[in-house]
Subunit: 345 residues, 3 copies
């Protein structure tokens, strides 16, 4: 499978991009340098000088321009060469690097790497991560696994019973009522467990009295390529589900290469919660990192290793009830990639 290029990918959390320094990262198997210009606006350029292919990120950032660290060519935020210290100072034809649209929204930096005009509205709504209105807690993991395996993981949360026994799952999960739906290219995978006694990990996180049977919802919204919003919550059994407060978690997956993925995840709580909200957010992000890092990550990397050079479909996967959402998302993504390929053909 190739990548979908005309789409928004998260390239970094906002705090990763500081003033006066550059961040180099491989995204969709291309080296990208990111920085903030004099106004603090984010910039993304191809991280390779057209002269001798030095990474621009090894150079100096001055006045919103990069000076290459090897021979001093200067590039502005549009990727144009604007300074040549050598000879008569003439700017050689073709001396430019590719510029990518990089938009700051929802505490993240979103990059568009395709050739089509970027569609700003196409960034899915993660307004619960808007730092103006929310307390946001953010973290990052790197996985040596294909990014669609990560989509599979989130879209089929039946796995929490087996993989996260002591933290997120319980034996009630298998009896969940699940439902998959699609609106345009957005896929929803919703799951409701009934009369579930949550593991201590969640009872404590959600301040539910120990041993209380609850209805728990875990609803995932997926948008291509692999940006997911998870809303979860619980009410005492008998109460109407999905009426109580939901906790929102974002899962952003961006391919580093075909077999490695950048994984950003974050919580947002209303600013109205004040200090308690900050404490809650910090605790939540620190807690959730543990199952993600210690349980999901090793499994996903082992999956990838086991797949060797074969594609998902070549391996003829056996499909289960819980796969409906993941497979729907795969089909949408595959169609988008196919369309893009035929457009550019």
């Amino acid at each position: 499978m190739t990548f979908l290029y005309n789409a928004w990918y998260v390239a970094a959390w906002d705090h990763e991009l500081k003033n006066d320094s550059m961040l180099s990262r491989r995204l969709l198997d291309k080296k990208i340098v990111m920085y903030r210009d004099e106004n603090g606006d984010p910039v993304a350029l191809q991280d390779r000088c057209p002269h001798r292919f030095a990474p621009l990120s090894l150079g100096c950032l001055r006045d919103g321009e990069i000076e290459c660290g090897y021979h001093g060519l200067r590039f502005n935020a549009k990727g144009q060469c604007v300074g040549n210290p050598h000879g008569n100072g003439h700017i050689p034809k073709g001396a430019s690097v590719r510029k990518y649209s990089l938009v700051e929204r929802y505490s993240a930096l979103w990059i568009w790497m395709g050739n089509n005009e970027p569609i700003s509205d196409a960034i899915p709504d993660f307004s619960f991560l808007d730092p103006k209105t929310s307390i946001v807690a953010k973290d990052y993991l790197h996985a040596r696994a294909n990014y669609v395996l990560e989509t599979d993981n989130i879209m089929d949360l039946s796995h929490i019973e087996f993989m996260h026994k002591s933290t997120l799952g319980s034996s009630a999960v298998r009896n969940a009522v699940s439902e998959v739906s699609q609106e345009g290219n957005t896929v929803w995978s919703r799951r409701l467990t009934k009369d579930e006694v949550l593991p201590d990990f969640l009872e404590e996180a959600w301040r539910i009295p120990k041993g209380t049977p609850v209805s728990r919802w875990m609803d995932v919204r997926w948008d291509a390529p692999a940006n997911m919003l998870l809303s979860v919550g619980a009410v005492p059994s008998g109460d109407a589900p999905r009426t109580g407060n939901s906790t929102y978690i974002a899962h952003f997956f961006t391919p580093e290469t075909e077999t490695a993925t950048h994984y950003w995840f974050g919580f947002g709580f209303p600013k109205s919660m004040g200090d308690a909200g900050y404490e809650r957010a910090n605790t939540a992000i620190a807690n959730i990192r543990k199952p993600f890092e210690l349980e999901d990550l090793p499994m996903l990397e082992a999956q990838q290793e086991n797949m060797e050079d074969q594609s998902f479909w070549e391996l003829k996967p056996v499909l289960l009830a819980g796969d409906a959402g993941a497979i729907r998302a795969r089909r949408v993504l595959e169609a988008l990639i196919k369309d893009e390929a035929s457009d550019s053909a």
Copy 2:
């Protein structure tokens, strides 16, 4: 060269397979999970769940069945899916993993990875390693070298003069009388040195008075793919050779990949030796590991590295007198692989 599949390979020593735990190992470039069922009988299955390709070895072993650690599919010792916790519990068609015959014999677990019916009698006789009648001392090394290079090494023991000067060899080795013979697909490479004063290492191991000239025999029996029995011993010069007690050492080589090998080696002494036998066995295995690990292993790995991407025959090896046994074994193995390929064509 491809692998010979319809043959017995050692997959583990018996003690490596404990009750209530799983052992995952790459054999012939395939990931295999091994465990003991409720009766203690050894089981070998493909280590890849057919649903999402998770290694089954990352799951749980319960009542002789494996529960996949990702989504909870259960597999019995035949590799059949016998439990699906999702949806209506229906077992999806095709939900099975390949089962391999795994036989416990001579302190080892023997695996058959080919498509033909396994032939139990085809395991060569290593009854000196039978734990019912013998004191057995076992060890293991991993080599980044093709397994046939290991066969070459054992079948041509003329190398001990040069590679193991201080432990196993002496300058008398070059004058050995050697003899190669074949019975069916079994190849023998026999070697007798005369009037040899053994290195201290062996005089001490075999309790021979220092400086005594001896006749020493080193006889190797090879069976495809790479299972060898070495019987060695010495009598005072003048006595009829091969009349005294032999020490028996097994060398089992199983390809992990084309360029890496699992190497199991072990001694067996009669139980009648009692405590002295245990002491002898433990000392022998600890001593022999040193030249194997510190002298053979670096050489074999350097050979493999030097061969780069070329095959043994492409490199046009110069042949010496001592190669007769190794080349005979290579020819038998090549013929068996060729036959197997034409059978399945």
Copy 3:
């Protein structure tokens, strides 16, 4: 790009080749073993026994001959097998390893790896490194970068302004008068800066009073494949340049593989300088290693990584004024490689 074979490459500094020991090194992607024979004369052989492909460098050196450490074949300095301890001692046909010409000159060992007769006179003149007449200070670095990137680096010293700001460069460098010329296959890249105040690093090294404006010359002579002589010096502004003493530095680059390079660099000072010359040489080599190792090396390795699998020309480099010398050298080298290929076709 393939390699140029019929040419002299540095294989080692003279002191790297000790009596009674062997040195194994990969050169032009071939493993070579080097040693000194009984007369101290340097020998270079293919480092692979023709019997079982063991590296000869793992064997023993005795009386100017190598005994293979695996089965004891002996090879003389011509690469001929001269001893076989096995069987009747007959030397098998074809039992030889390739011998390469290895010449000791200018404190270095020069190897010729092509099939044509080596041309002794073709070694470029580096007599300032002759240990009979000079105090020589030598060092070595290993770079994970193609060797022609190293040529580019030295032939275009305009980079010192940007890469070596605190040691070798200054902002006057961009205004240098530069000049490229060619004599036969030798390319010169000459550079003269005027009214330059040198960085402290150089003022101290060259004992120039702090803040003195100078004329500085930096002249590079290149010979294929990648052997360069750098002569540098400075006189007070107004004095005729290139009249004062020059400091000479050799840069020898030999491909280990397509993407890795051996890098030898050295200073030579007249023996007439006595103790002061030794101190100067030792200080100079220790100082110069720092920018080479900490500034050039990371950039060159990053360039190589950024080029991925593409060739220099495929990447369509933008050319600057300072590239003239590097491109001229590339063109000469490419023509020599092309000629060699058509000769052997």
